[in-house]
């Protein structure tokens, strides 16, 4: 399923003294079975854009196409249920939204709400729990007895159990330990490949954006500043730094080193391995000035 926006604009509190332009001129496409990262600093409009992807917000100008549903400015779209089922959003700190007595009930909540019969919902819950790496003996526990990392997994399983075609993730690993972070990011990457779904990742981690995404959308002051592959985006790192954004660690190090050496060591590197190889080649051939 494809999601695209056309000339999307969004204003908060229209026709009130608090009116505020949050997004404008947004034209983006999330192709089927793709992995898109949205980056931009706090207040750039990332989270507002994300809420348009399943109709939680409706544009004040322009339109959003979600599969074969079109949400147009000014026209109230009545039946958004199919859209909400197909586009699952995992919000920041989703464990704050857990509320059921048991892990299983919490994961089943979504499918039941969309009319799945109980037995089938339980099957879906079991599968989703497996996908996020929750062991079966946790299903009857209260989610509130679990550790923070496990609670996060329960909340994510609740979205996966609805079997969305597009999975939208808002900072899904914030507050997790390094292993938890890696496991969860790898899980999303596998899901995207194996289940042929699309993932949209909103993140501050430039490492994750460059490692996992096929496309990156850079948001700045309410509009799209730039879009492209990680290579396209990070090939001009100084531009990103001027926008107040981070760049992947390997690039940051490379910039620092090049400043000290007063010369380039070659193309911009996106991984530690690439960086190390480039430095070793540079050292072996000697600096080009000699």
């Amino acid at each position: 399923m494809e999601i695209s926006t056309r000339n999307l604009e969004f204003k908060y509190h229209v026709n009130t003294p608090f009116e505020r332009l949050a997004l404008y001129d947004i034209n983006v496409t999330i192709p089927p079975n793709s992995y898109t990262a949205i980056i931009g600093h706090t207040g750039s409009g990332k989270s507002t854009l994300l809420q348009h992807l399943n109709g939680l917000l409706q544009p004040t100008v322009g339109e959003v196409h979600i599969g074969d549903v079109t949400i147009k400015a000014g026209i109230k779209e009545k039946n958004l249920r199919p859209v909400r089922k197909k586009v699952g959003i995992v919000f920041q700190f989703p464990e704050h939204q857990l509320f059921e007595e048991t892990v299983e009930k919490d994961i089943c909540f979504g499918p039941l709400n969309f009319g799945t019969p109980l037995e089938k919902a339980r099957k879906k819950a079991k599968k989703a729990a497996q996908q996020v790496g929750l062991s079966e003996d946790l299903m009857d526990k209260s989610p509130f007895e679990l550790s923070g990392g496990q609670m996060r997994r329960v909340a994510i399983a609740g979205v996966l159990a609805m079997e969305p075609e597009v999975l939208v993730l808002d900072e899904p690993t914030a507050g997790l330990d390094p292993r938890g972070r890696m496991e969860i990011m790898e899980m999303f990457a596998n899901l995207q490949r194996e289940q042929k779904i699309s993932v949209v990742l909103v993140t501050h981690s430039m490492e994750d954006a460059s490692k996992y995404a096929d496309h990156i959308i850079v948001m700045h002051k309410g509009t799209v500043y730039k879009k492209g592959t990680p290579k396209d985006i990070f090939s001009s790192p100084k531009e990103l730094i001027e926008l107040g954004l981070d760049v992947p660690e390997s690039i940051r190090f490379q910039l620092k080193l090049e400043e000290k050496l007063q010369q380039s060591i070659g193309k911009v590197t996106l991984s530690i391995d690439e960086l190390a190889r480039q430095i070793s080649v540079y050292l072996k051939r000697g600096s080009t000035s000699q």
Binding site: H41, T42, G43, F93, E145, S147, G148, G149, A174, G175, L176, D177, P178, R179, G180, M182, H204, G244, D246, E249, S250, F253, K256, L257, K260, L261, I272, D273, L275, A276, R277, I279, S280, Y282, L283, G286, S287, Q290
Partner: protein
């Protein structure tokens, strides 16, 4: 001799009688003026330690001393004058309707006279560089600014120890840097002891000492050099090694001679620069 600020002696703690121990036989000391980072996987007991340090929880067995004072129900108010805490979520720790009211709140609770209070509020907001925001409403601030105000609230109390309980984990990279730089400046100027509970390895690298927690127990204590030389063991504990160390390992794979204990980015940049000069 380094002065002990906080002492944990064979501390056991569990949240209720039927659950397993969250802390098992935990002993360590925190020294005056140091930056101590506590790292460990989710659920390893880090935050429980923080809550025990200022009497939000009490040990089941063992003892805790703060500046020599045993932690008990009777001493918690004295101890909270010594140990201040900044929590994870910037939105959950505001009580005042303006920035200055919020900083003053803690002082009112401690019965500080008004004149003195006004001085301290201004003084601590200057230290976190938020003196231009006195009458702003907290919800108009960025996450990093909110956390700096929370730090000012602790500074105003003039506590000897500040605990940062994952205080930067909900911030964006810029907010994180802002907060950590502020704390570092304050620590250097005021000789405050900082205890930082964190998953951020780049922050841990800059600490004076590290405690690694694992499943409710102290796994090891040491300087960043000592701790990060454990490499694979850390990864097994669900942790990771910092960027600079990963790069050093990779450089070795490509045949570059780099010392293994190089943890700080600037050190490595200088080292490579020197290698380049020798060619």
């Amino acid at each position: 001799m380094k002065k002990e600020m906080i002492q944990f002696d064979r501390v056991f703690f569990r949240y209720d009688e039927n659950s397993p121990y969250a802390l098992k036989d935990v002993s360590f000391s925190v020294y005056e003026g140091e930056w101590l980072a506590i790292v460990g996987h989710n659920g390893s007991g880090k935050s429980t330690i923080a809550k025990l340090m200022n009497g939000l929880l009490f040990p089941e067995k063992g003892s805790i001393r703060i500046k020599g004072l045993p932690l008990t129900e009777e001493t918690i108010w004295d101890i909270r004058d010594i140990v201040g805490m900044v929590f994870q979520n910037p939105d959950n720790q505001f009580v005042g309707t303006t920035v200055q009211d919020d900083v003053a709140f803690g002082l009112e609770n401690h019965g500080i006279p008004r004149e003195e209070m006004i001085n301290r509020v201004m003084d601590s907001l200057k230290k976190v560089k938020m003196e231009g925001f006195l009458d702003q409403e907290p919800h108009h601030l960025s996450g990093g600014q909110k956390q700096r105000v929370a730090i000012a609230g602790v500074l105003a109390l003039r506590t000897d120890v500040i605990i940062l309980d994952e205080a930067t984990s909900m911030l964006d990279p810029r907010g994180r840097t802002e907060v950590l730089e502020t704390v570092r400046e304050i620590k250097n100027k005021e000789n405050v002891t900082i205890i930082s509970i964190t998953h951020d390895l780049e922050e841990a690298v800059k600490a004076d000492r590290l405690i690694v927690m694992n499943e409710g127990q102290v796994f090891t204590i040491g300087t960043p050099d000592e701790i990060f030389s454990l490499e694979d063991q850390l990864i097994q504990l669900g942790l990771d090694i910092p960027f600079t160390l990963k790069l050093v390992k990779m450089l070795k794979n490509y045949g570059c001679e780099v010392p293994s204990d190089m943890l700080q980015e600037d050190e490595l940049v200088d080292y490579i620069w020197k290698l380049a000069q020798e060619i």
